[in-house]
Amino acid sequence: MTQHDSVTQPESVLERPEVSAPEPWSFPEAQRSELANGLGVVSYDIPGQYVISVCLAVPMPLECEPRDREGIATIMARTLDEGTALHSAEEFAELLERKGIALGAGVNDAGLIVNLDVSKRHLSEALDLLSQAVREPAFPANEVSRHVKSRLAEIDQERAVPGQRAAIEFVATYFDADERASRPTAGTKVTVSAITPQDLVAFHAANVVPSGATVVVAGDLSDLDIVSEMEQALGSWSGEAAEVGEPHEAVRAADAIRVVFLDRPGSVQTEFYIGCPGPDHHVQGGWAPFQVLGFVVGGSPNARVDAVLREEKGFTYGIRSGFRPRRRGGMFLTSGSVRADSTVEALGLLLDILDKAREGFTPEETQAGIDFIGKTAPGRYATADTVAEEAATLSLEGLTTEFTTENLHALLNVDAATLAVAYDRYVNGEWTVVVVGDASLYAEGVRALDRGELTVLPA
């Protein structure tokens, strides 16, 4: 034992302060309208937010990508501003940067989102450039081939990063092979290599249309006429949406309940990616219990997972669990990495914790989860970018931020019994498990856990 000097620290004289109830708060109020071309316009005036965030959300289920050109929506998103009818790629980049405009775009399973951040005084110029990128992209051959090559290099990078490698294998194992969801959103080497400028022109014309799309503007909008700004920038955008059927829930593979161990020799950590079905935002009985469950099971250092694997065992820097909604259906996912030589024990403990949660939750942990989700909302939605992103993402699911507000109210009706029912409704111990680590050392131990048929593959 080491001897320490006697501690001469000051006495505490104050009792622990009580926490008083939070002030009432509500999600920023939306102003809604629609342009003649069918584009929805939603704005949120948030005083003091001097950088305006604009999010344009265009519904475009990934299933609309041709099977042999998967990744085309992503390549399109990345090349919208790489040359337009009026400007070359380099000119366009310069126009953006001289006004300090950040323009980006990406896709998820439900659609395309184009993001724009700009200081208030440059909003009109920024909207004009956004409009050009969305309405009149030129897809020059040189820029397209550059972005295709860049995506191919990115695929190699993703395979080398254990967490990303695990995620790719997870969807391939979890979803039926006929489902678009079983393959990477941004495409594979074969499908991305096949993408041509002509493909992009056709895909853009068919899918990037104003009808059904929503543009969200959030920030300090005082002295701005947003509808008129939008009419000027996007009023002449035209095109009719192709018929898109009702979104469907991607089917889980018949053999999804198993363990895939990707061999990454010499790994000093082992990555886990574990999942089972979960609901989407439209779930009967409401989304609120699932948000709380994410927090209680795996949302903090004191949540059930990390209370053991991090704070008691020291196996991990942190493992997170949560319900992840898709356009239809969803998943309950747990992921993170552990010290290599703890692989077998950690995986056994982790699955036991996830399974044992079906026995229920204490009133204390339930209340802590409700309070965390509810009382952090004012801070989580305090900035223009988070509000715009929330509204745009929800619009792709056919929802408005009324959903966010109602969900916060619904939290008040959640209790331990609600949580238990919600968890048990989806979590039944039928896990899809992906492990990325040194198979020569740990695959047999994982097999011996007997948590599903084990397949070992190269990473």
């Binding site: 926490v19 950088v51 380099e90 950040a102 020291g314 970018d385």
Partner: protein, 426 residues
């Protein structure tokens, strides 16, 4: 562009500097503390200790149980964490106004009465957690140790920035409970700390609460040493090649830069933007768009206070191109920029992007509080957030050119190259 975020400052008798920024837009308060200790203060053989210590600040103090800092504040609607960097350590939470007193009470307890709760068990546990953090973020990732290699290549052994904040496994293993006691006594205390309170409160309320909870703590931290002697730019290139199982060749081209918060640092930072940081930077135009010998180029300037700063560019070399050829092209552009100086459009773009990103970073109370503490702690100026853009705007093209000619020349570069094992270079 004039900014007018409200700033009020007062120093308590024990030396704690308290800064209140009143903003009633959201019914929250951000509590943010910066302690003027970072990995630059670590002794040889104890690298990584400032960060390990930061973890122990969550394992309880005299009146707070282990883990309770997270659990009690999160259950009150708090979002919180802490980070450690070369120059400093920060602790922060954003809570509903009604939980501000609890947050301050808990912060005062761990910043003043930590050692009662430190023991071998929680040291061992957090040492394990930190080692997993290191493995997750550095050791098990492709290129994960690139920045660590840069620090070692560009700053001399024994220099405060030679070793990374995460430290080494051997030094983490060597850390003892006695080290925790010694570190706390040397570096923690109100006289080495800045507290910012940003949000739904008045300055008087903030000062009163700070006095109530922190006022009783004695000024225990030892005096800070003077900054170490400034370093000049490297006089000849340094090179560190790592042949590894990585998906593509990466080049990290690093430079020493002038100390932070000086016109010379701002000028060198703007130069780095124009050379490699902007989407329209010279290297992006040439290597990524035209020659397509790189899939991406980025550049960053990290301002430090101990006599020197760091700038670096990262180039992801495209399949089929040689890292040497790409590096030679980058060096040509460095020379050309130093000869020509920035164009008007480059100056305009670098300034415009700096302005938007600065305003974005001030958009949330959390980040605003962090900036306030940063500049109050390291530069002495609590009102810096309102004047930074004006100071940046004063930098002239001639200063940018001079900074590039002095600091960003090929002979002053340190290159860390991560090269693919099978080496398909031409």
């Amino acid at each position: 562009m004039p900014l007018d975020y409200k700033i009020a400052e007062r120093t308590l008798a024990n030396g704690l500097r308290v800064i209140v920024s009143e903003d009633h837009s959201v019914p929250n308060v951000t509590v943010n503390l910066w302690v003027n200790v970072g990995s630059r203060h670590e002794a040889e053989g104890r690298t990584g200790f400032a960060h390990l210590f930061e973890h122990l600040m969550f394992q309880g103090s005299r009146n707070v149980a282990s883990g309770e800092h997270f659990s009690a504040l999160m259950a009150a609607g708090g979002r919180l964490n802490a980070t450690t960097w070369f120059d400093r350590t920060n602790y922060f939470e954003t809570v509903p106004r009604g939980a501000m007193d609890l947050a301050l009470w808990m912060e005062a307890d761990r910043h003043g009465r930590l050692l009662d709760a430190v023991n071998q068990e929680n040291l061992d546990n957090q040492r394990d957690v930190v080692k997993e953090e290191k493995r997750q973020r550095y050791d098990n990732m492709p290129y994960g140790n690139a920045l660590i290699d840069i620090y070692a290549a560009i700053f001399p052994k024994g220099h405060p920035y030679h070793h990374p904040t995460i430290g080494s496994m051997a030094d983490l293993d060597a850390a003892s409970v006695q080290d925790v006691h010694d570190f706390f006594r040397s570096h923690y205390g109100p006289n080495n700390t800045v507290l910012a309170l940003v949000g739904d409160l008045t300055p008087d309320e903030g000062f009163a609460a700070a006095q109530l909870y922190f006022g009783p703590l004695p000024a225990t931290a030892s005096a800070r040493r003077e900054p170490v002697e400034p370093l000049p730019p490297l006089s000849e290139p340094v090179r560190d090649e790592q042949i590894e199982d990585v998906p593509s060749d990466h080049l990290y081209i690093a430079f020493r830069l002038p100390v932070d918060d000086t016109p010379e640092f701002f000028a060198s930072s703007l130069a780095l933007d124009a050379i490699g940081g902007l989407a329209t930077s010279r290297l992006c135009q040439r290597l990524v768009r035209r020659e397509q010998s790189a899939t991406s180029v980025s550049a960053h300037a990290m301002g430090f206070v101990d006599g020197i700063s760091l700038g670096f560019m990262m180039i992801d070399v495209a399949e089929g191109f040689s890292a040497d050829t790409v590096e030679a092209a980058a060096c040509e552009e460095l020379v050309r920029f130093a000869e020509q100086g920035p164009t008007d459009i480059e100056m305009e773009s670098a300034m415009a992007q700096s302005e938007r990103s600065w305003l974005s970073s001030l958009a949330s109370q959390e980040e605003r509080a962090d900036h306030i503490c940063h500049f109050a702690t390291l530069q002495g100026d609590s009102g810096y957030i309102n004047t930074y853009l004006d100071r940046l705007a004063e930098v002239t093209p001639a200063q940018v050119q001079q900074a590039a000619a002095k600091w960003l020349m090929p002979q002053s570069r340190a290159v860390v190259a991560y090269l693919k094992q099978d080496g398909d270079t031409q």
